[in-house]
């Protein structure tokens, strides 16, 4: 170091000399200064302090949805018919209030004022309240959290389908979008006791959700309850969940889960890993004893009085309870310029329909008359899968994109395509939100279901829809 110092001094002199030589011409670097917006040269001297702990989001939204429908479907879907239009105004509130140093109150809910074709006006279904969360959180010692109340416990690293999101079943209420990301946001929590401990190298969460109600038939848009918290959807059975994360290596901390409901245990795992600056690879898996989607739908339909025992004679894909797995494997990639994030996933549900199950579903349905109870039973399986937030078929491919500042600043474009790999039918949704200001957002989305008439998405009553919305954040 001692020997190096004189040479550094010589170098510094050389550099200084070269800088002096350059001083005759204005350095090209200084041209960059002209790119600073003149109005940004003198920003306000007094900066308002950032409001710490303002954990509240309240917004008003008005959304109109118009749909176009398929005609002469076989098998014909049961009533009520799909509405061709819906108008909804809603007040969405999510807030967190600190009661004292260790106690906090959390509320999340949505008050909907809605009208739709065939619903009638006025009646009690014009006004519905989705009580998503209401719970008390207590931190008796640092990083030990005890919560009681209605809580949304969600799990999973994938976007298109979450095999480990065990509390998703029956919890989604009248979403404005079928984007799986949105479905996660607008759903009911479960009444539960939750204990969570976060350590330096991991965390552990234990959940007990008691049965306080009993199974009820699957809801449709015309029989929603106005101000009822609908615990029948979330707390019809005792349920347990134990999950934890552990740091196994730098940047690698998998999550493992065990869940029990109605005597059936499922295990799950979530793995995610960054690969370079632009890619994240992930895998979500769950496995446990369950029936096929048809046999579980049949059992649920019979328990709630929605299906006769004879339905067993017409449903395809019935199977005994066995160990079955669900998988979502994928990766996200962010392009360099423009910055668009793509998520590509392979989704698998071993309990779902196979291609031959679909063939049988359509064959049986086509033979039945339009008003036949057989058609109703067949459609019930699909309604059940949707109500459970499960995949109806075994294999899907899912692609989602999100583009911030698309074409112009403040325009966010997002969309997804979901393809049933058994018949190549596809659901495609493309949406755009334009952030007019910090408080105003306008947006819209278009949904298209495409495929042959004897395919998963091609046989749905709705061929497509358009939604327009305006949002005011308060």
């Amino acid at each position: 170091m001692k020997r190096a110092s004189p040479r550094v001094a010589v170098l510094a002199l050389l550099f200084a000399a070269s800088a002096t030589a350059r001083a005759a011409d204005p350095p090209t670097e200084d041209k960059d200064l002209s790119l600073i917006p003149p109005s940004a040269e003198t920003p306000p001297a007094a900066v308002t302090p950032v409001a710490a702990g303002a954990a509240r989001r309240i917004f008003l939204e008005d959304a109109f949805t118009g749909s176009w429908l398929e005609n002469d479907l076989l098998p014909a879907p049961p009533p009520p018919p799909q509405p061709r239009w819906e108008e909804r105004a809603l007040l969405d509130v999510r807030g967190e209030w600190q009661v004292d140093d260790s106690l906090r109150l959390i509320y999340s809910g949505r008050l909907n004022l809605r009208a739709e074709e065939g619903l009638g006006f006025p009646n009690h279904e014009n006004l519905t309240n989705d009580l998503r969360e209401a719970y008390l959180g207590w931190e008796p010692v640092d990083r030990l959290f005890l919560d009681v109340g209605r809580i949304n416990v969600k799990s999973g690293v994938a976007l298109g389908f979450n095999p480990t999101d065990f509390f998703k079943t029956r919890a989604v209420v009248e979403p404005l979008s079928v984007d799986p990301v949105v479905l996660r946001e607008d759903r009911l929590g479960t009444l539960m006791l939750r204990a969570e401990r976060v350590w330096t190298k991991g965390s552990l969460t234990a959940v007990y959700a008691p049965a306080v109600s009993s199974d009820s038939p699957i809801y449709t848009s015309s029989d929603l309850k106005s101000l009822n918290p609908m615990f029948d959807r979330t707390n019809a059975h005792d349920r347990w969940l134990l999950k934890g994360t552990v740091d196994l290596a730098a940047g690698f901390s998998p999550e493992f889960l065990a869940y029990e409901s109605q005597g059936r245990v499922r295990f799950g795992a979530n793995l995610a890993q960054n690969v370079g600056q632009s890619v994240v690879a992930y895998l979500e898996w769950s496995g446990g004893r369950q029936g096929t989607v048809s046999s579980d739908a049949l059992a649920f339909g019979q328990a709630t009085g929605s299906l006769p025992a004879a339905a067993a004679n017409v449903l395809p894909g019935l199977g005994a309870v066995a160990f079955r797995k669900q998988i979502a494997a994928g990766a996200s990639y962010t392009t360099p310029l423009p910055r668009i994030t793509f998520n590509l996933e392979f989704l698998y549900n071993e309990a779902g329909f196979t291609g031959s199950d679909w063939d049988e579903w359509f064959r049986t349905g086509s033979a039945a008359g339009p008003n036949s109870p057989i058609a109703g039973a067949l459609w019930y399986v699909r309604q059940y899968a949707q109500d459970q937030q499960d995949l109806i078929s075994r294999r899907f491919a899912f692609l989602r994109m999100d583009w911030v500042d698309a074409f112009v600043p403040k325009l966010e474009v997002s969309g997804f395509a979901e393809t049933d790999l058994s018949d190549r039918s596809t659901r495609l949704q493309l949406g755009a939100d334009y952030y007019l200001s910090d408080h105003w957002t306008v947006g819209g989305l278009i949904l298209l279901d495409s495929g042959g008439r004897h395919s998963d998405f091609g046989s749905l009553p709705q061929a497509g829809s358009v939604l327009l919305k305006v949002v005011r954040y308060l």
Binding site: F15, A52, G156, A272, Q277, Y473
Partner: protein, 260 residues
């Protein structure tokens, strides 16, 4: 014999050049370490960050964030927790960066999703732009020369012109040009490049004020070099030393992160 004489002449020159290169490398690193210390307090701290976006010279909108930063003793790199305060549509969202781990928590979906550093979450800025970063930990620096350039207030500053090459995959950019004022080690300007060599962003550091015992830049002007109509002013403030337990850097702590 002739050759021997030549070697006698060449050898000291080669040694001199070699030692100079070593000295330059050491000095460049020392400069970057010193300028990192200007930007970043050495003890765990909390600060606020306001991002004001300009489109075509007009102020467009704002983001407000709270940052918790703590240096990892092993890697010398900062670990960060970011909590969104404004705008209202993003309130409560939070991000964790701990080495290879980058997690984004959205209180609306109530799940933590692993994201890449290139994902854009906050206006024009990539998440990697707004975090507290020790450049010395992720880049290999070298001295390009000494230059006198104008700072953001158009005052001439005699600077080391440094070139920083990404030395590991945690670096947000492949290459950075950096100008550091001689004597004060104040960062004056930075230019940030993509893997393709394309210039992505230009940053000017300004408004140096006393924060946590040192004079630090409290504003960074970030110019989008791809679309020069876009610019962001990052205003740092409300610095405070704060104990940040290790457990806060677990992704499952994100839902519990309150402005404490």
């Amino acid at each position: 014999m002739k050759y021997r004489k030549r070697w006698i002449a060449i050898l000291p020159m080669a040694l001199w050049l070699g030692m100079t290169a070593v000295a330059e490398a050491q000095t460049a690193r020392e400069i970057v370490v010193a300028t990192d210390k200007v930007r970043n307090p050495e003890k765990p701290f909390r600060s606020t960050l306001r991002l004001t976006e300009y489109v075509g010279g007009q102020e467009r909108d704002h983001d407000s964030l709270i940052l918790y930063s703590k240096e990892d003793g092993a890697t010398r790199q900062f670990r960060n927790l970011v909590q969104y305060v404004e705008p209202a549509r993003d309130t409560g969202k939070s991000v964790l960066l701990d080495g290879h781990s980058l997690w984004f928590y959205d209180p609306n979906s109530k799940v933590s999703v692993r994201i890449s550093a290139q994902q854009r979450l906050i206006g024009q800025a990539a998440i990697g732009d707004i975090l507290t970063v020790n450049l010395a930990a992720d880049y290999t620096p070298s001295i390009v020369g000494t230059e006198t350039i104008e700072d953001a207030t158009r005052q001439p500053r005699t600077c080391w012109h440094l070139e920083l090459k990404a030395s590991n995959e945690l670096a947000t950019y492949n290459r950075v040009e950096y100008w550091v004022e001689q004597g004060s080690f104040f960062p004056v300007k930075g230019k940030f490049y993509a893997d393709s060599g394309r210039l992505l962003k230009i940053a000017y550091f300004r408004k140096f004020t006393q924060q946590l015992g040192a004079s630090r830049p409290t504003e960074v002007v970030i110019i989008d070099a791809v679309d020069s109509a876009l610019a962001t002013i990052a205003t740092l403030g409300e610095y405070a030393y704060q104990e940040i337990p290790e457990a806060w850097f677990q992704r499952d702590y994100l839902p519990h992160l309150q402005a404490k």
